[in-house]
């Protein structure tokens, strides 16, 4: 019925089916093109030319770096309404930062994960944190069997609690797989990411056997009053959307000699932090006197993060 009407229409008015299809095709084509180039407009809205042309972290001169840090502070002011101070903390000579965690006294209260969330300017809605606390069956160290969705009261008598964060490996698989060298290991042992160089391919997330890397699916949302203003280029400055991030042992604190935020939040003192190269340090005492192990030793990653039990 409709067909007959159309054909009689076109015969009388002269619009052929071909003409109509051409018009529809042209319109669809225009719409598809507009959609296809839409990321470009998004990019333009977000990223300045300076941002786009910025060199790799390790190629920035001190002058370049000062300009970059000022620009980041300026962007944070505009985007988040927060006054922040972004610095570039460098490794201290003669220091290799190490962490040890006492599984005998960790109670699983998750305050370390919460402190990380606040300290590192994580996205609020997703409750992101570099620390994941696993509730484990006594007698097993199989991370895959750990439960992160446990509830209180803790500690439960038949369980132990194992917080897992970046292990700052000496042979980091995440660094090996990065196609653009946006992540590397620094002289004090910290594996860092240049958020401006990262292309967000997430290879490193897949390569990490400790599930320690996180991806910024969205632009982090943080109320201005909650932004931690004490920031560093390689650690807790607010990350852009679409890049990887990871625990840096709070290098903006620890490279100044301060304790990491997760340690200060620990109510039991399960966490021990210090310089692995200093034979007098407390962490060296732990390594020498406690039953110490590393996670997934068989992978040969050589973590700078150690777990131990009391006798």
């Amino acid at each position: 019925m409709i067909d007959r009407q159309n054909s009689s229409d076109s015969e009388s008015s002269g619009v052929t089916r071909r003409t109509a299809l051409k018009a529809v095709g042209a319109t669809l084509g225009a719409a598809a093109f507009a959609k296809a180039i839409s990321p470009l407009t998004e990019w333009a809205a977000h990223e300045s030319i300076d941002d786009f042309l910025q060199k790799h972290y390790r190629e920035l001169s001190p002058v370049d770096m000062a300009v970059v840090l000022e620009r980041i502070a300026q962007d944070t002011r505009e985007d988040y309404g927060a006054e922040v101070e972004v610095a570039d903390h460098r490794p201290q000579p003669g220091v290799k930062l190490g962490y040890a965690l006492n599984l005998s006294i960790c109670v699983g209260c998750r305050r370390c994960a919460q402190a990380c969330h606040v300290e590192n300017n994580h996205d609020r809605p997703s409750g992101n944190s570099y620390i994941r606390v696993l509730e484990m069956e006594k007698g097993s160290l199989d991370m895959a069997k750990g439960n992160v969705n446990y509830d209180g009261p803790v500690p439960k008598p038949d369980k132990f609690y194992m917080p897992v964060q970046c292990q700052q490996c000496d042979h980091p698989p995440c660094v090996d797989v990065c196609p653009v060298e946006a992540t590397w290991k620094e002289d004090d042992g910290i594996v860092v990411v240049d958020y401006n160089w990262c292309i967000g391919c997430r290879y490193c997330e897949a390569a990490c056997p400790y599930h320690a890397r996180r991806f910024n699916w969205t632009k982090p949302r943080i109320p201005a009053a909650e932004v931690n203003p004490h920031q560093s280029y390689l650690s807790n400055r607010i990350r852009p959307q679409g890049v990887m991030e990871k625990c840096t042992y709070c290098l903006h604190r620890t490279r100044d000699g301060r304790l990491p935020a997760c340690l200060e939040a620990c109510p039991t003192g399960a966490r021990v932090f210090g310089n692995l190269l200093d034979p007098e340090s407390e962490i060296r005492w732990v390594l020498a006197h406690k039953r110490v192990f590393v996670l997934k030793e068989e992978l040969g990653t050589k973590p700078s993060f150690f777990y131990f039990f009391d006798e």
């Binding site: 619009v15 319109t27 998750r110 969705n149 109510p267 003192g269």
Partner: protein, 232 residues
């Protein structure tokens, strides 16, 4: 028919309108996408901020200022209306020491509501019957309340050793002591002296990342139908 094969006809206006709507729609979508992520982070954040943690009875690391001499609240008020505290010796000077008080014989007249669970000790294992304003070492010597850790250390050797090597008890400040000071909790900042077992608490900050939610979903599916992937 013109050379291009296109003639202005009755249908043409309709096609043009449809086309314009299409393009306008496309542009609108584009504009929406360009605009939405550019919203400032502080916009509609109030309802999505971190949920506050459940209060628990956990004693947190604190920047405390030394152990004060304990004093007991009396039911008297001074002329400012402030409650009056009394030193231990105020009452104990007039009372006979009861060496049996403790595990099986809790005080009923005073110190009511004291929760006591500390091994086989009784009151005078630690409190000094000769001078109630001090503590008593195992060898009978008096010990100031300020040095309470020396009292605990008499029995809790491994904990003392670990504490002395920085691997027991919370702390804040600097790991690099050349750069700054560090403050540490003492035994009694975290442990109730009369019932020192560490309390069980509700964890804070439940995870909401994709991995955690995925695991939760799997667990729920599994508990709803526990035999599903075993017998197929």
């Amino acid at each position: 028919m013109n050379p291009s094969g296109f003639r202005f006809t009755r249908l043409t206006p309709a096609l043009v309108v449809v086309g314009l709507v299409w393009i306008a729609g496309g542009m609108w979508l584009l504009a929406q996408e360009a605009r939405s992520p550019a919203q400032p982070g502080g916009g509609h954040m109030a309802e999505t901020s971190t949920p506050r943690a459940q209060p628990s009875e956990l004693r947190l690391p604190m920047r405390s200022a030394g152990v004060a001499q304990p004093r007991v609240l009396t039911d008297e008020f001074d002329h400012h209306g402030d409650p009056v505290y009394a030193a231990c010796s105020t009452c104990h000077a007039t009372r006979e020491a009861n060496f049996k008080a403790g595990l099986d014989l809790l005080p009923t007249e005073f110190h009511q509501g004291l929760r006591y669970s500390h091994g086989e000790l009784n009151c005078l294992s630690c409190h000094n019957a000769d001078n109630y304003d001090t503590l008593r070492r195992a060898d009978g010597r008096a010990l100031d309340y300020q040095n309470v850790m020396a009292l605990c250390s008499q029995c809790h050797g491994p904990q003392t050793r670990d504490y002395n090597h920085g691997s027991h008890g919370g702390m804040v400040g600097f790991w690099d002591r050349a750069k700054g000071e560090r403050e540490r909790n003492r035994c009694i900042d975290c442990h109730d002296v009369h019932a020192p077992a560490y309390p069980r608490v509700n964890p804070v900050f439940p995870p909401r990342d994709r991995g955690a939610l995925e695991q939760l979903r799997r667990e729920q599916a599994h508990s709803a139908n526990p035999s599903s992937h075993r017998h197929d």
